[in-house]
C-alpha cells in the first residue's frame, strides 16, 4: 500500500516536472522569437535623435531608499548620468536609520527647501525636501518610514512628468537605460502603459558596470554566478515570452516604467502587500482587461543595469523567501483571474502559469525530493535510476539555461567569452548546488505567506569599496 502510494506520488511529481519543463521549452521558442524581433527593432532605432529631441517624452525617475548608505551614491550618479533629453531623479529616503541621508547631503550638496507638492496619494509624513546645488534635476524627499510602496507614492506626489520609472537603490544603470526603456513608448504612448527590461546581478554593481561593454566580468563566486543564471532565465526564457503572449505579469521593481496617469487612476503602489512590483502589474492587467481597454505592458531584452545580489546563503534565502511570499500573496489575491476568459491570456495562461510554476512549485518540489529519496530508501527505485532522473532534470535545466545565455549574448554581447563558458559549465550543477537553496527559501516564503507574515526582511547590503 505504501509502495503504491509512494509510486503514484513519484509519478505525479515527475509528471509535473516534465509538464512544466515542456511549457518552459515552448516559452523559450516564443522568447527566442521575441528576442529576435526586439533586437532587429533596436538595431533600426534612431537613438541619436531620441536622445536629443525635445519630443522625447520626459521621465521622472523615482528611487525608494531605506538604509542604503553603502549602495546609494553610485546608483544616483548613474541616474544623473542617464543619456536622456529630459528627466528628473526623485530620491525618497524612507526613514533610514543609517547614514543614507548624510551620504546624500555630503555627496550631492543637498540643501533643504520647502516645496509644496500635490498630495495625490496619502503617505507617511514628509520631513523635508532637499535640492542639490550641483544637479538641478535631483530632488531628495526625506520622510517617515512607511515601506517601499509608501516611499514610491511619496515620489509620485513630487513627480512632474507623464512617465515615471521606479528603480531600486542598489542598482547601477547604463547611460542609455532610459532611452532603451522608452524607445517603444515614444512610438505609442497611448497604448504602452508599462515597460520593464533586463537587469543583471553583481556583488558590487558599481564596479561591474565600470568595465567596458563586451568585457564586463561576471563574479567568479558560484553563488553570484547562479543568481546571474537565475536572472537570465527569468528575463529571457520567461518574461520575454510573456511579453509576446500578452501576459507580462512582473514589471521588476529595479526598473519599472509606468504611465503616471495609470498609477494615479489605480491608487498608486499598494502598501498591503509585502512587495509592490508584481502586485501592481497584476492590478494594471486586471483593471484594463476588466474594462476592455487597449493597453500593452512590455519586457525588453536590453540590459539596462546591474543590481546587487546577496553574497551569502542567508541573505539569498531571505530575499527569495520574500519574493515567494509576494508571489503567493498576489496570485491568491487575484484568484478571480484564474482560468477566467474575461482576462484573456492573463487569465487563461499567465495567472494559472504563476499558480502552477510558482505558488505550487515549492510543495511539489519538496514532495518530489522526499518521495524520490524514500523510494530509493525503500528499495522501490534503484539508485542508478535515481541518478538518471537527476541527470535528466539537471541537463534539462542546463539546456534551458544555455538558451537564456545565448539569447542574452545575441542581444547585448556584454560579457567576456570566458565568463560565458564558465556559466555554461556551471549550468548542469544548478540542480544540486543552487536549487536546494531556492527550494528552501520558497518553502519558507510559502510557510510565512500561510502565516500572514508581511514583513520586508531586508537583507544587509554587501560590503563595497567606498564610492569615489
Amino acid at each position: 500500500m505504501t509502495g503504491d502510494l509512494l509510486g503514484w506520488v513519484v509519478v505525479f511529481c515527475l509528471g509535473y516536472l516534465l509538464l512544466t519543463n515542456l511549457v518552459y521549452v515552448v516559452l523559450v521558442f516564443v522568447a527566442a522569437f521575441e528576442n529576435g524581433v526586439r533586437r532587429t527593432e533596436s538595431a533600426s532605432e534612431d537613438y541619436q535623435t531620441l536622445a536629443s529631441s525635445r519630443f522625447t517624452i520626459p521621465v521622472s525617475v523615482i528611487l525608494a531608499a531605506y538604509n542604503e548608505e553603502t549602495a546609494i551614491v553610485p546608483t544616483i550618479r548613474s541616474l544623473l548620468a542617464l543619456d536622456y533629453p529630459e528627466h528628473e531623479v526623485i530620491v525618497v529616503n524612507d526613514g533610514s536609520t543609517d547614514a543614507t541621508l548624510d551620504r546624500l547631503r555630503e555627496t550631492f550638496l543637498l540643501e533643504p527647501y520647502e516645496v509644496f507638492v500635490r498630495r495625490v496619494f496619502e503617505t507617511e509624513e514628509v520631513h523635508a525636501v532637499y535640492r542639490s546645488a550641483g544637479h538641478p534635476n535631483l530632488v531628495v524627499v526625506d520622510k517617515a518610514n512607511g515601506g517601499k510602496a509608501d516611499a514610491l507614492n511619496a515620489g509620485l506626489n513630487v513627480a512632474r512628468y507623464r512617465y515615471v520609472c521606479g528603480v531600486d537603490a542598489d542598482t547601477v544603470f547604463d547611460p542609455d537605460a532610459l532611452l532603451k526603456g522608452m524607445r517603444r513608448v515614444v512610438h505609442d504612448p497611448a497604448r504602452i502603459v508599462g515597460v520593464t527590461s533586463h537587469l543583471t546581478i553583481a556583488l558590487d554593481p558599481g564596479r561591474a558596470m565600470a568595465a567596458p561593454h563586451g568585457r564586463r566580468p561576471i563574479d567568479r563566486r558560484p553563488l553570484v554566478a547562479y543568481q546571474h543564471l537565475d536572472y537570465l532565465r527569468a528575463f529571457f526564457n520567461n518574461r520575454l515570452a510573456w511579453s509576446r503572449l500578452g501576459f507580462m505579469l512582473c514589471s521588476v521593481g529595479a526598473f519599472q516604467i509606468w504611465r503616471r496617469d495609470v498609477l494615479e487612476e489605480l491608487g498608486g503602489y499598494s502598501r498591503t502587500f509585502t512587495c509592490e512590483d508584481i502586485e501592481l502589474t497584476f492590478r494594471v492587467h486586471e483593471r484594463f482587461l476588466r474594462e476592455g481597454r487597449d493597453y500593452e505592458i512590455h519586457c525588453l531584452p536590453d540590459n539596462v543595469g546591474t543590481t546587487e545580489g546577496p553574497d551569502t546563503v542567508g541573505k539569498l534565502v531571505a530575499q527569495r523567501e520574500r519574493w515567494q511570499r509576494v508571489i503567493d500573496e498576489t496570485v491568491w489575491h487575484y484568484r478571480r483571474m484564474w482560468f477566467n476568459p474575461r482576462y484573456r491570456s492573463v487569465g487563461l495562461i499567465g495567472a494559472p502559469f504563476y499558480l502552477v510554476t510558482e505558488v505550487l512549485a515549492p510543495a511539489v518540489e519538496l514532495t518530489a525530493l522526499v518521495s524520490l529519496v524514500a523510494a530509493v530508501a525503500l528499495g522501490l527505485f534503484e539508485p542508478s535510476a535515481f541518478l538518471v532522473l537527476l541527470a535528466a532534470i539537471a541537463f534539462m535545466n542546463a539546456a534551458l539555461t544555455a538558451c537564456a545565455i545565448l539569447l542574452d549574448d545575441l542581444q547585448s554581447r556584454t560579457y567576456r567569452t570566458r565568463d560565458l563558458a564558465r556559466l555554461l559549465l556551471l549550468a548542469p550543477l544548478d540542480l544540486v548546488l543552487y536549487r536546494p537553496l531556492i527550494i528552501w527559501a520558497r518553502l519558507k516564503g510559502s510557510w510565512r505567506f500561510l502565516r500572514g507574515d508581511k514583513a520586508w526582511h531586508k537583507f544587509e547590503r554587501n560590503a563595497r569599496a567606498p564610492a569615489a
Binding site: 538595431a43 529631441s53 509644496f116 541537463f395 545575441l410
Partner: protein, 385 residues
C-alpha cells in the same frame, strides 16, 4: 543504454509480482534476468518513467552541448568580426539582398523587422534604390514600416526627403511626434516647408507646424500670433509656446491674452512663454496664476517666476497676503527658490518682510532657511578666519 539496466529493485518477496497483476506504479515488475518478458517492462510505470528520463537526458544533454557551442562559437565570431557599422559601403551582393528584403511585403513580425533593418541600412548607405523604397515604405499600412521610412528619410535629409516628411506629417503616416523629431533634427533645412503647415485645415498639422517653428526665430511671427486665436486649444498652446522665444508687441499681447485662456494647458504654456518673452513686465500677470484652480498652471507660473529671478520679487510680495492659500505659499516658495529668503535671513534676519514670507510659507520654510543660512554663516566665518 539498455532499459533493463534501470529496472527497479525487487528485493522484497511481496513485491515480486508480475506487472500483469496490475500496473500500479508501486508494484515491481520482474526483471528480464528473472524471467520477465519485454512486454512486462513496457507495462511497468516505473520502467516508463526511467525510459522517459533516459530520452529526456539524451535530448537535453545534446541540446545543452549544441547551445553551448552556439554561444561560444557565435561569440568568438562576433569578437573577431565586431559589429559592422551600418553606414559602411555596401557590397554589391549584400545591397541586392537588402533591396530585395526592403521591397518585399513581410508576412511575419520577424520579416517586418528584417525589412525595417534593410531599409535603414540602405538609407544610411545612401543606396540609389533608397528613395524609391522609402517612398513606398512611407505609404505602407504597417505603422512600423512607415515609422522606419521616416527614420530613413531623416538619415538622408535631402530636399525631396524633407518634402516627403512634411507630407507624412500632414497625412499622419507615422506617429507625428517621430516625424517632427526628424524634421527638427534636419533644421534649418525644412524652414520653407513649415509655414504652409500653419494654414492647414487639420488642427494637428497646425499644432506641429507651430511647434516646429521654434528654432526659426525670424519666421512666421504674424502667423503664430494669428494661431493664438485658433479654435483648437492644442494649436493655441503650441503657438504661444513658440512665441515665447520671439519678440514684438503683437507676440507679447497675444501671450498675455492667453494667460486667461479657458483651457488649462494653454495657460501653462502661456505662463512659461510670458516669462521668457516679457521678463519682469509679465510678473504681475503671471503671479495671478499662482491662485489658478489647476495644479499644473500654478506649477508653470512658479517655474516662470523662478526664471525671472530677483526681478520677480516686486510682483510676488503682494501675493504673500493674498486670500488664496496656494497663491500665498506659491509666492513664498518662489521667493525662497530665487534666494530672496536666504538673502533676508543672512543680511536682515529681523526683517518683518521675512516674517511675512515665513507666515505665508509655513514653519518648515523657516526651518529649511535656518539650516541653509546657518551653513553659509559657518562658511563665511571659516573664510574670515
Amino acid at each position: 543504454m539498455p532499459v533493463r539496466a534501470w529496472r527497479f529493485k525487487s528485493s522484497h518477496p511481496h513485491r515480486r509480482r508480475s506487472c500483469t497483476a496490475g500496473t500500479s506504479p508501486g508494484r515491481i515488475t520482474r526483471s528480464r534476468e528473472s524471467g520477465g518478458s519485454a512486454g512486462d517492462d513496457d507495462g511497468d510505470v516505473y520502467g516508463l518513467v526511467v525510459r522517459v528520463a533516459v530520452v529526456v537526458l539524451a535530448l537535453s544533454l545534446t541540446a545543452w552541448v549544441a547551445l553551448s557551442v552556439a554561444v561560444l562559437v557565435g561569440r568568438v565570431r562576433y569578437d573577431l568580426s565586431r559589429r559592422e557599422s551600418p553606414s559602411r559601403a555596401l557590397g554589391e551582393r549584400e545591397a541586392r539582398r537588402l533591396v530585395r528584403r526592403a521591397s518585399r511585403r513581410a508576412r511575419t513580425d520577424r520579416g517586418t523587422w528584417l525589412r525595417i533593418s534593410a531599409l535603414r541600412r540602405l538609407a544610411r548607405a545612401r543606396h540609389p534604390a533608397a528613395p524609391r523604397l522609402l517612398r513606398t515604405a512611407l505609404g505602407d499600412p504597417d505603422p512600423r514600416i512607415s515609422a522606419a521610412a521616416v527614420r530613413g528619410l531623416g538619415d538622408l535629409g535631402d530636399e525631396w526627403a524633407i518634402d516627403l516628411l512634411l507630407d507624412a506629417l500632414r497625412e499622419e503616416r507615422a506617429p507625428r511626434s517621430r516625424i517632427a523629431a526628424q524634421l527638427e533634427r534636419l533644421a534649418p533645412l525644412p524652414r520653407a516647408g513649415l509655414l504652409p503647415l500653419l494654414r492647414d485645415k487639420d488642427p494637428a498639422v497646425r499644432f506641429w507646424g507651430a511647434t516646429l517653428l521654434a528654432p526659426y526665430r525670424e519666421l512666421g511671427d504674424a502667423s503664430l500670433v494669428l494661431l493664438t486665436e485658433d479654435s483648437d486649444p492644442n494649436v493655441r498652446a503650441a503657438a504661444v509656446e513658440t512665441l515665447g522665444d520671439r519678440s514684438g508687441d503683437a507676440a507679447a499681447a497675444a501671450t498675455l491674452a492667453l494667460l486667461h485662456d479657458p483651457a488649462w494647458f494653454v495657460r501653462v504654456h502661456a505662463a512659461r512663454s510670458a516669462g521668457r518673452l516679457l521678463g519682469a513686465e509679465a510678473g504681475p500677470s503671471i503671479v495671478r496664476l499662482l491662485a489658478d484652480v489647476r495644479w499644473w498652471v500654478r506649477t508653470a507660473a512658479k517655474d516662470a517666476l523662478r526664471g525671472l529671478g530677483p526681478e520677480a520679487v516686486s510682483a510676488l510680495l503682494p501675493m504673500l497676503t493674498d486670500t488664496d492659500a496656494f497663491a500665498r505659499n506659491g509666492a513664498a516658495e518662489v521667493l525662497q527658490d530665487i534666494g530672496f529668503v536666504d538673502h533676508l535671513a543672512l543680511e536682515r534676519p529681523d526683517s518683518p518682510l521675512l516674517e511675512r514670507i515665513y507666515a505665508a510659507g509655513g514653519e518648515r520654510m523657516r526651518v529649511a532657511a535656518e539650516v541653509r543660512t546657518g551653513r553659509r554663516k559657518r562658511e563665511r566665518k571659516a573664510r574670515a578666519a
